[in-house]
């Protein structure tokens, strides 16, 4: 498995125009970033399209990575998720449920990945558990599915302004807990 420092090296070399490093970065991270696009978009053709945009963006913006202070996978996942949600917002038509396209449950992390991720995962879970459950679910819905305030308010059965006010309060608690 490619280590975090390998991925960081690939990004820094990509920033210098190293195409071999860019290809290695793609090989190491494209499955994760495609998973992010698919989860947000629920649509295979769009996710493939956005994945291309993601790596074009990574090539062009890799030089900014060195100065932004992000850990490498956070930066890559943030780029992918933002572009996928931009695409989601640009279309209105509903897509088929993701389960129709991929059996996502079948491809969990390896035991090594799971161990590496578990402590950070435990922190976000603990912090979300401290929130009222509908706001914890709202944070998950916004992050994982790219849901809007409108979507979140409908699902929770509250007016949109109520959702916004209470979610903002929950975000303050969440940030305190995460920091």
């Amino acid at each position: 498995m490619t280590s975090t420092s390998d991925i960081e090296t690939f990004i820094l070399r990509t920033a210098m125009g190293d195409r071999a490093a860019f290809a290695a970065l793609y090989d190491a991270t494209s499955a994760k970033l495609f998973g992010v696009c698919l989860r947000v978009l629920n649509n295979r053709a769009e996710a493939e399209d956005v994945l291309q945009d993601v790596f074009v963006r990574i090539w062009r913006k890799a030089d900014r990575y060195a100065v932004n202070g992000y850990s490498p996978m956070t930066w890559l996942i943030t780029v992918a998720r933002n572009l996928a949600i931009d695409r989601l917002r640009a279309r209105k038509a509903p897509a088929r449920p993701i389960e129709d396209i991929y059996d996502l449950a079948a491809s969990g992390p390896t035991p090594e990945e799971a161990a590496a991720q578990s402590s950070e995962r435990a922190q976000i879970d603990r912090c979300l558990d401290a929130l009222e459950s509908k706001y914890a679910e709202s944070v998950r819905g916004a992050y994982l599915e790219g849901e809007t305030y409108q979507d979140l308010a409908e699902r929770a059965g509250v007016p949109i302004n109520t959702m916004r006010t209470w979610l903002r309060r929950s975000l303050l608690k969440l940030k305190d807990c995460l920091t």
Partner: protein, 232 residues
Amino acid sequence: MTQAGDQPRDDIALAGEYALHLLDADSRFAFEQRLRDEPELRNLLREWDEGLVSLATEMNEVEPPAAIKRAIEVRLFSSEKADRERWFGRIGRWIGAAALVAAAFALAMYVAPSFTRPDVGPNYLAEIAADDRSVVVEAVFDPDTGEIDLDTMVGAPAEGRVFELWLIADGAPAPVSLGVLPQTGTDGLTVPEVLRSAMLGGTLAISDEPPGGSPTGAPTGDIVAVGLLTSS
């Protein structure tokens, strides 16, 4: 490192909403304008992104089709090569062999930015492309100056026709003209101030028009390419 306690509470919640992508287009645009000038806000956003990213462990890996990698390399590298060759040809025709030293200098000035990639603040990018990639135009929008740099990577209007750029803002009833594309490879248009905040999340489209652009204020020819403008 900046601690959450140093930040106004409004900004803490606002940065969280931005990180979750909950802000509407106008608020998102305004937040990105602040990010350019406020390092503390950038730190706050980074803390949010780092704090939330472990939720992505729920986004399982899926191997993309093999053709995607090749498609990315074609997009990035063959158009770059084609563009450079196009410029060689054009410069040769324009000024002739006697001025090749000057041409080499001009080419170096033209190519240099793609290697040095100066550190600019958040800007907005779009690839405006035809489905079959017979037309590909890269657009970079600077919201401060309203300048939109356009680089035609592939394609050109037919003889006696021009390409016109349109903004289709999110929720807008009709496209708004941003002007006729310059005939040379890399050049810019200026977006009027009143339209700048509508650019983010808007769709850019290129239509085929008579010389001087559409006479009606709406596209009269085919839409040849489209692309979504997104923040960097």
